[in-house]
Symmetry: C2
């Protein structure tokens, strides 16, 4: 019941092999014939068998998306649906599909990526993160498979096309904002030094402190893993005599968890402690108090990464480049001056 | 530099055609030989070329996910990442990949689905929604392509495997809860009658009213499209002398938008108006007041839909079935008694 090349050939009044050549975009076929064959294909609702055709034109018309760790935890973070949303719009503009690559650990991700690449399941890959020690990135560079990265590659950034915010600059701005409100005991919460993102943000934070003549304190850097551990530890930190009066938090999700925690401790926001965060998720506009947050334009990060990847797929000789997506602090009600 | 069938053949000490037969799972090859070839493949890190192999074994080891309308709007709703999360866990257990199908309109979705099916880009499809008039579902039934649905198919439910909550029952429970709090002016907000979900929920809502002897009022059914329109219309509805004292809202997202709207009108929740909603998103635990919501177990909806689909792919003769995922009201602070 499905339509074959022979049906198309009959309607277009050409040989089946001519139809095949049109499908594989053979340059020896005249424009006139191409037009006629394509018209027949459309008329009959014929779609070339995707897998057979992929072998010929070596294209899957699919972009692969590589997520950090398992999709099962990652998709709980609103960053990922939003970045996929950006990718999807660009993919759709170019009639590309999307393949989601998942793995439960670094090793599983690596194994899955090699399988996807060697099996040519996709035409190229977008890495949604950048780690300091990234096997996947090294592998993709080695085999010369098209890819782009969201985030700054830790090594080889000159040879890799990537899309990122200016994380040093925006974090410096955010810290400056708290300093200008009179804070000097400012902690940075939710760090994961395996990711280049954290390294860059810490750098911006340090620059702001340095310029203001405030000493950097290691004990004011709170790891993400620490927050996920014993509640008593974070309680001790927030209630110690030397507790910070302001927090820079790596994402709104964590910030809202801190909101709940602080409420239970009867510590008021922003009267007792100021909080500023990143990502500007929907809930930042619906929390009490409303959360001051940095809009990093997640959608655009995804859109541009897909744009660069498709460009690279279509023209493998295109040069590596860095695209910077502007980030902007959205001032709401979670920070106040410290007198 | 990539490893070929010839390399595997050499290491396993068999002919290349034997390796091909092992890859295509030919039953004429002895278990002993299969084992030896597989060991050599593993040792060399050989992955059969996916597209070439698909032609032989007719499998892509990929499940396709069909979203309603464009991914660009849909992914803003936390339902979709969470349901994909459920699918991803099951897919991963079976070493399946995921392909996201997107379309900007009903026609575009239909076109994309036919392309995916005819091109055999995936082994089966999961529809994340059920419409009253669904061309896609009819098409998939016609061509006999494996698929499962999240939601109740409007027609042909006996011939289709689907996963759903008992929407009539849970909505009746929710409405009963408000009636027991003393409310009789209860509106249902966020309806879209194109989706079977809305039809079932309205049915449960009506049953509760009917049992309690409360008359059903058409003007208490507020369409989703209405909420997206003029703010003045919804303001008029909420402030009229005949305004409802309680709202059942189709999802937490809408509910929180109503929270903001009501706050601007100085209508207090729950003192002046009670609100109960569906989906139990993360933000329901962080709103003020905390939002009473129905946990429909979105993750499990996705997980079971993937489970049924993979079962169907592996055994095309498996019988159509309905799986019901339990839903549960999570009582928080957004409802109070009406005296």
């Amino acid at each position: 019941m499905s339509i074959t090349i022979k049906d198309v050939a009959r309607v277009a009044n050409v040989s089946p092999s001519t139809v095949s050549r049109v499908i594989s975009n053979n340059s020896r076929i005249s424009e006139e014939t191409k037009k006629r064959v394509k018209k027949a294909m459309k008329q009959l609702g014929y779609h070339p068998n995707f897998q057979a055709r992929s072998l010929v034109v070596k294209s899957t018309e699919t972009v692969g998306i590589v997520m950090p760790f398992s999709a099962s935890t990652v998709l709980q973070d609103p960053f990922f649906p939003e970045v996929i949303r950006g990718i999807s719009v660009k993919a759709k503009e170019n009639r590309y599909g999307m393949y989601l690559s998942t793995g439960g650990s670094e090793d599983e991700i690596f194994e899955e990526v090699t399988r996807v690449v060697q099996g040519r399941r996709v035409d190229g890959l977008i890495l949604l993160y950048s780690r300091t020690d990234d096997k996947v990135m090294k592998y993709l560079l080695d085999v010369g498979f098209p890819f782009t990265v969201i985030g700054r590659p830790y090594v080889g950034a000159e040879r890799i096309t990537f899309v990122d915010n200016d994380n040093i600059y925006i974090t410096k701005q955010v810290t400056d904002y708290l300093i200008q409100l009179g804070h000097s005991k400012i902690a940075f919460v939710g760090i994961d030094m395996d990711f280049v993102l954290s390294i860059d943000r810490i750098e911006g934070y340090k620059q702001a402190l340095h310029e203001a003549g405030i000493e950097f304190r290691e004990d004011y850097i709170i790891q993400k893993s620490y927050l996920k551990g014993e509640k008593s530890a974070i309680t001790a930190f927030l209630t110690s005599p030397d507790a910070p009066t302001a927090l820079v938090v790596t994402d709104d999700f964590l910030a809202l968890e801190l909101f709940s925690h602080l409420e239970a401790l009867n510590i008021r926001i922003p009267e007792d402690i100021s909080i500023i965060s990143f990502n500007n998720y929907f809930m930042a506009e619906h929390s009490k108090p409303l959360l001051t947050s940095v809009d990093i334009d997640i959608f655009q990060l995804g859109y541009e990464a897909a744009n660069c990847l498709i460009e690279k797929i279509k023209n493998p000789e295109s040069l590596p480049k860095r695209i910077t997506i502007p980030a902007k602090m959205i001032e709401r009600k979670s920070c106040s001056s410290f007198l």
